[in-house]
């Protein structure tokens, strides 16, 4: 025992001691023995006045807690009468205006762990639902772990495709380890062959034919923010079919949430117009919905990544820009070498593209507005000259589906035709949950028009079928009701109408809320030990987005395997 440390039960000594005497800097005190004997002697009742004040407070508290139950909907009526809650519209689910009732019918009973769980038999159902959520969490963790690697993916062995289509039959389909996985939710198809052109392209990439790049372009609202859902799909597809590049990227972020995985990106000084703001009279918003411009000095720098399995190499960069009167010059600096200049002056506003080829490998590319006029650009595509998949992600934060009608029709058609994706994917609907009843009633027409804007008439043009497409329904949204989180009733209506619109247009459909587990999924995903849904009950966490991406991937692959099975001898023509 050291002499310089005070005993812990001697406050004066502690105060006199060095200022930094800590928990373990004190000496052990000799504690008096505590004798647990002797019975108390005073058993007289307490004076009544002892509890008067606290008792009166408790009585008032109980009265106030019980008061809202005195008459049906008393607190809801009060809320409506002072205007903090509105009367329900005809045909629209009413808001729950009750604000003062601590317990509402339908909520778990008090002392649920004994009464509800055991005496009312609710335990088994809840435990099954909890087990499902736990499985989903484990899946999310496994996916995150699987993709958190810097070991590069091996490229496919390149196979020369048959040129005459009759001699060498393609190799038979080689089953993939993912084929045995359970598919949580299957795709709904308007016909068995609705996605066959896409699967044919995928088969060519799968076999490894030279030049066989399968392109998928996906647009969606904020559910796709930070590239999480699209990167999940990109990762899964590229892991299976080959990494053919990052795909489409904007020149400047339209908002703080624009962030793509698998690429390093910095930007400065561009002016931009984002489609939902309808800020360009010519309605040329570019493939990604955001067009940028500068009179000189603005720049964007892109770099491959080295700490991930994907995005490590480029073979080419394709700049998407607008030729226009008084257009300026674009300067491209690749790896600090000799710059390349692209002249953008032209007679009229016209979409143009410029491809910069490079050796397949890691690169750094700077795109700069080099003056001599105003430069206007729509985006840049990074690809590789290897068989594989490219999955473009074009998130349109805050967009209603109808905002896609802001695109100039001819401009958008030219953009899509140039990109020539093998599959168009749409993931809108989250913002559409707030549509008025009138717009909900015409929701299928909104989708019909939007789909036609991107791919033309559903029946095709001049015998050429419309591009394959897939609608992914919005995720389940939650709504707080007392102690519970229930699914927003608007979700079921919107999903139902999206389904009809998709199938009518010849698109496949993926029911995301059903895949998540149906009614109440948002609440269960939110309250998981490692949440899969964010606190706003409308957006998924990164882990949740990984799961949804994986579910869509599994659904697509189930149909792909079925396609390969029913056409084993067919040689997909190059």
């Amino acid at each position: 025992m050291t002499d310089d440390v005070p005993a812990p039960d001697d406050p004066a000594a502690m105060a006199r001691a060095s200022a930094d005497v800590g928990l373990l800097d004190v000496a052990e005190a000799d504690a008096d023995r505590v004798e647990l004997d002797g019975d108390e002697e005073d058993t007289s009742p307490y004076a009544a006045g002892t509890f008067a004040k606290v008792g009166s407070g408790m009585a008032v508290l109980v009265a106030l807690v019980a008061a809202p139950y005195a008459a049906p909907d008393l607190d809801a009526k009060l809320a409506r009468s002072v205007g903090v809650c509105s009367e329900p519209e005809p045909g629209v689910a009413a808001d729950d205006c009750s604000f003062a009732r601590a317990w509402l019918p339908g909520e778990p009973v008090p002392f649920w762990n004994v009464i509800g769980r055991e005496l009312m038999g609710e335990g088994a159902v809840e435990e099954e639902a909890a087990a499902q959520v736990e499985e989903t969490q484990e899946l999310a963790a496994a996916l995150l772990d699987r993709d958190d690697t810097d070991v590069p993916l091996p490229d496919k062995v390149i196979v020369t495709p048959p040129t005459d289509g009759t001699t060498d039959a393609p190799p038979p389909y080689t089953p993939h380890e993912d084929d045995g996985l359970e598919v949580p939710r299957a795709l709904e198809l308007p016909s068995g062959d609705a996605l066959d052109p896409f699967f044919a392209a995928l088969a060519r990439s799968d076999i490894g034919y030279e030049g066989a790049i399968t392109r998928v372009s996906q647009w969606g609202d904020s559910v796709m923010s930070a590239d999480n859902v699209t990167s999940a799909l990109r990762t899964s597809m590229q892991r299976r079919f080959g990494d053919a590049g990052h795909g489409f990227h904007l020149l400047a972020p339209p908002n703080n949430s624009y962030r793509h995985r698998g690429i390093r990106f910095k930007t400065s000084e561009w002016q931009h117009c984002y489609i939902i703001n309808k800020c360009k009279p010519d309605a040329h918003f570019g493939f990604g919905g955001t067009t940028v411009w500068s009179g000189g000095g603005a720049q964007s720098v892109y770099r491959t990544v080295q700490d991930a399995a994907f995005g490590r190499s480029w073979s080419r960069a394709e700049l998407w820009y607008a030729e226009q009167p008084a257009g300026g010059k674009i300067r491209l600096d690749l790896d600090g070498g000799e710059p390349t200049f692209v002249q953008t002056r032209g007679e009229a506003l016209t979409d143009r593209w410029f491809t910069l080829a490079m050796e397949d490998g890691p690169h750094r590319l700077k795109v700069k507005a080099a003056g001599e006029g105003r430069v206007r650009m729509h985006g840049i595509v990074f690809e590789r000259d290897v068989p594989g998949v490219v999955w473009d992600g074009m998130e349109q934060l805050g967009a209603f589906t109808s905002r896609m009608m802001y695109f100039d029709e001819a401009h958008l058609r030219a953009q899509v035709e140039h990109r020539d994706p093998d599959l168009l994917v749409f993931m809108f609907g989250g913002n559409d949950l707030t549509l008025s009843a009138r717009n909900v009633a015409r929701y299928e027409d909104i989708w019909k028009d939007a789909l036609e804007r991107f791919r033309g008439p559903a029946d095709g043009v001049d015998g050429v079928p419309a591009r394959p497409c897939l609608l992914i329904a919005p995720v389940d949204h939650g709504k707080r009701k007392g102690q519970q989180i229930i699914s927003d009733p608007a979700v079921a209506e919107i999903v139902s109408r999206q389904r009809r619109a998709a199938l009518a247009a010849g698109c496949a459909f993926f029911d995301t809320p059903a895949a998540m587990g149906g009614e109440g999924a948002a609440g269960r995903w939110r309250k998981a030990d490692k949440p899969l849904m964010a606190g706003d009950l409308a957006h998924l966490t990164h882990a949740g987005q990984k799961v949804i991406g994986h579910y869509v991937y599994l659904a697509l692959m189930a149909e792909y395997v079925a396609y390969r099975a029913r056409s084993p001898g067919a040689s997909p023509s190059p």
Binding site: M1, S18, D20, V21, G22, L23, L24, D25, A31, R33, V34, E35, L36, D39, E40, D42, T43, Y46, T50, F51, A52, K53, V54, G55, S56, G57, M58, A59, V60, L61, L64, V65, F99, A100, A102, P108, P110, F111, W112, N113, E118, G123, E126, E127, D148, N256, S257, D307, R480, Q483, I485, G523, K527, A528, D529, K530, A534, G535, T541, H542
Partner: protein, 552 residues
């Protein structure tokens, strides 16, 4: 059962009324409180994830019976153990030690199984992977019984104090069972020792108007802290950042760390306030658990102010029995490190394995530094001092760099940054005088505060990968500021107020605010509590978050 819920209100009000009616009758009050405590443990509300099933109360009963029996058996041989006859004394001591071992092994064995089995299995998998073996231990997903980390330590204090001769056993099993299960502090502390609570349970509860009001005041304070400063911040900010740090800038992550630091204190100290207040309403006193810990000038003082009942428990039942600081320097430092390491590891949560190993070691090593800095010889010759310090700083920098690069997987330049930062902080704290001007004190407080803030990365991150990402995001500062809509103005106000309040004099709340509260008439208090309940219903995220420390 959670405190800020309708369930607790429906439970505690009738229990209080019934208790006050029978408080003067020893047998009746023990029976009532015991039944209420077991009901409190079993009958919680529905939460997500689901609460542990009610039949886990069997573990509580097991622990209670085990320690009651062991305590009596140990005491029964106390006289014989100090007999003049050597053989008799030895035999008695063997039996006493055997019962003590049964109690310790039984209690810690249960705790170890339920709390640390998955940790050891995950660690075995990690080691196998590091050795190149493709073997993975099964994950058993063992449900953690509510409060086991607390009631285990609590009942162990009974048998250990009897063995040490500092306590005589409780004759009444029911009274002892009540000590173990006393509901105000059963599931998340404060850890109350047998010598503190059992004597009170034998006496007439101290009930008077002033003490009852004090109890209400503590409950109101605790509810405000827990829900406004704790849950609200968690639900609307910190949870999102720690779930997906990639979506936030470096500055926003730093703000989230400050917010979590406030949230953790408010959550746990708020719970302790409610527990202490409820006990006061029943006429009992349980120990304080927090003493404005962020005012600490060093880590030693911090652990004297934070979760005091746990840290003093480990000090009295582990550090001192190991020899404390009575041995040589090596033994003293080992005892210090082990005690603080176990304090840190006590906080382990399933799935976070290496996070808490790092957290525990950070605080353990910081305590070692604290002691060394306080006791070192500052009169060494300049040459020797320069050479010693130079070598030590080099070793520290290299170690931290290696830890960052190898263990945390940080890029090399970030790991070098970590090493440099560590050396700079070490030098700064070592150079600063331990006492001095208010500015010096403020610097010490600031450094200690920021050490706890940054170490909370490993406390809060849901897994090791996220902890590593958070470190990386802070070390590779992106230069971007806070987005304008990061937090609503109300949460900014809560954050600033909450942190600022911590450094205000305690008399502002415990003196002035208390005197104001005491003047409020009873019915108005009822309205005040009803208003607080309504506010909590609106603020809480559908249902309240379990106290952070429920996870332990």
């Amino acid at each position: 059962m959670l405190f800020p819920t309708l369930d607790y209100l429906l439970f505690v009000l009738p229990v209080l009324v019934l208790f006050w009616a029978v408080a003067h009758r020893p047998g009746a009050r023990v029976l009532l409180l015991l039944a209420a405590s077991y009901f409190f443990y079993m009958a919680g509300p529905k939460t997500t994830p689901l609460p542990t099933p009610w039949y886990f109360v069997g573990l509580l009963v097991t622990s209670t019976v085990l320690d009651f029996v062991c305590g009596h058996q140990i005491y029964a041989r106390s006289a014989a153990a100090s007999s003049a006859d050597g053989a008799t004394a030895r035999a008695a001591r063997r039996v006493r030690n055997g019962y003590l071992a049964a109690s310790v092994v039984g209690n810690l064995g249960l705790l170890g199984y339920f709390k640390y089995t998955d940790f050891f299995l995950a660690t075995a998998t990690d080691i196998a992977g590091a050795l190149g073996l493709s073997w993975a231990a099964p994950s058993l997903h063992i449900a953690l019984p509510l409060g086991i980390s607390f009631y285990t330590f609590q009942s162990l204090s009974y048998t250990i104090d009897i063995w040490r001769g500092r306590l005589t056993p409780e004759r009444s099993f029911l009274r002892f069972a009540l000590f173990v299960t006393f509901f105000p502090q059963l599931v998340a502390g404060p850890i109350v020792r047998a010598s503190e609570l059992l004597p009170q349970l034998r006496r007439r509860p101290k009930l008077n108007a002033v003490r009852l009001e004090e109890g209400l005041f503590r409950i109101l304070k605790g509810l405000g802290k827990k829900v406004i400063l704790g849950d609200w911040l968690a639900g609307h900010f910190t949870d999102a950042v720690f779930t997906n740090p990639g979506a936030y800038t470096s500055a926003e992550i730093m703000v989230a760390l400050y917010a979590f630091t406030l949230q953790l204190y408010a959550d746990f100290s708020g719970y302790s306030d409610i527990a202490i207040g409820t006990a006061r309403l029943l006429g009992f006193d349980i120990p304080e658990n927090f003493d404005r810990p962020y005012q600490s000038r060093n880590l030693g003082e911090f652990w004297r102010r934070w979760h005091m009942t746990l840290s003093t428990w480990l000090r009295d039942y582990l550090f001192f029995p190991l020899g404390g600081s009575r041995g040589g320097p090596v033994r003293t430092y080992f005892n210090l490190w082990l005690t603080m390491f176990l304090v840190g590891m006590w906080h382990y949560k399933t799935g976070t394995s290496w996070n808490f190993v790092i957290y525990a070691n950070l605080h353990g090593l910081a305590m070692l530094f604290n002691r060394w800095n306080r006791t070192r010889d500052r009169s060494l010759p300049v040459v020797r001092k320069t050479m010693t310090w130079g070598a030590a700083m080099l070793a520290l920098g290299v170690s931290c760099t290696a830890l960052g690069h190898v263990a945390l997987g940080l890029p090399f330049y970030s790991a070098v940054g970590l090493g440099g930062f560590s050396v700079a902080m070490f030098l700064l704290v070592a150079v600063l005088p331990t006492t001095g001007s208010p500015l010096n004190t403020a610097l010490h407080i600031g450094l200690t505060f920021h050490f706890t803030v940054l170490s909370r990365i490993f406390f809060r991150a849901p897994d090791f990968a996220t902890a590593s990402e958070l470190c990386q995001r802070l070390l590779s500062w992106d230069g971007r500021l806070l987005r304008p809509d990061l937090l609503p103005w109300g949460l900014w106000a809560v954050l600033v107020f909450g942190l600022a309040y911590h450094w205000t004099p305690k008399t502002w709340v415990d003196g002035r605010l208390w005197r104001l509260f005491a003047r409020v008439p009873g019915p108005v208090l009822g309205v005040l509590f009803a208003a607080m309940a309504l506010a909590l219903m609106r603020i809480l995220d559908g249902s309240p978050k379990a106290f952070v420390y429920f996870q332990f």
